[in-house]
Symmetry: C2
Subunit: 94 residues, 2 copies
Amino acid sequence: MNTMHPGELLREDVVPGLGIKIAPLARMLGVSRQHLHAILREEAPVSASLALKLGKLCGNGPTLWLNLQRDHDLQKLAVEMKDELDAIPTVRVA
Amino acid sequence: MNTMHPGELLREDVVPGLGIKIAPLARMLGVSRQHLHAILREEAPVSASLALKLGKLCGNGPTLWLNLQRDHDLQKLAVEMKDELDAIPTVRVA
DNA sequence: GCATAGTGTAAATTATCGGATTACAGTTTC
DNA sequence: GAAACTGTAATCCGATAATTTACACTATGC
């Protein structure tokens, strides 16, 4: 399972690859400059709507971005919810 | 792309397959009876935390549920954001 | 030199939304 | 016919995605 935050991919690969500054990129994506920075710092998540925009911009569709974000969230959540999850039995379907 | 709401799968297959009533199922999942009903009515989404719980209960992991929900959300969002997305160019990476 | 523009971060604020709680009408069951 | 259960609707609450406002720092130009 890949646990990289999508901000890492954005910061390491996409932004350098595009050769474009953060501020204009944020404008192209219809997002505030500050918010894009927060994502690059891996402090804010890539939402579904931003994933659609990134998918359009890169021509790769939104799935890549959402999968990264989802795996990242799931891993954190699974730890937080460990006790709660352990209390749930696995039931065999009839 | 599968656009079924996870509530449909839950309602049509899982609940009948388990042969269990809604109220006790909600209790097993640590969710209110009303909220589970809302999901079965396809009015509430399956969140990441509920997907983890369902995955544990069914023994299949959370991914199935999250993929269903994500595809469902994306399809709706893409329609709502059509104009905004059309305004974003697809950029070739260097 | 300094003033203007741009970059990165840090609040504070707003809007949305997942979910619980409360409440109510209709069914069953004793 | 009252107690227990089911399904739905309405209200409320906490978390959070995102904007706005603000501030230090770095160029870059005149």
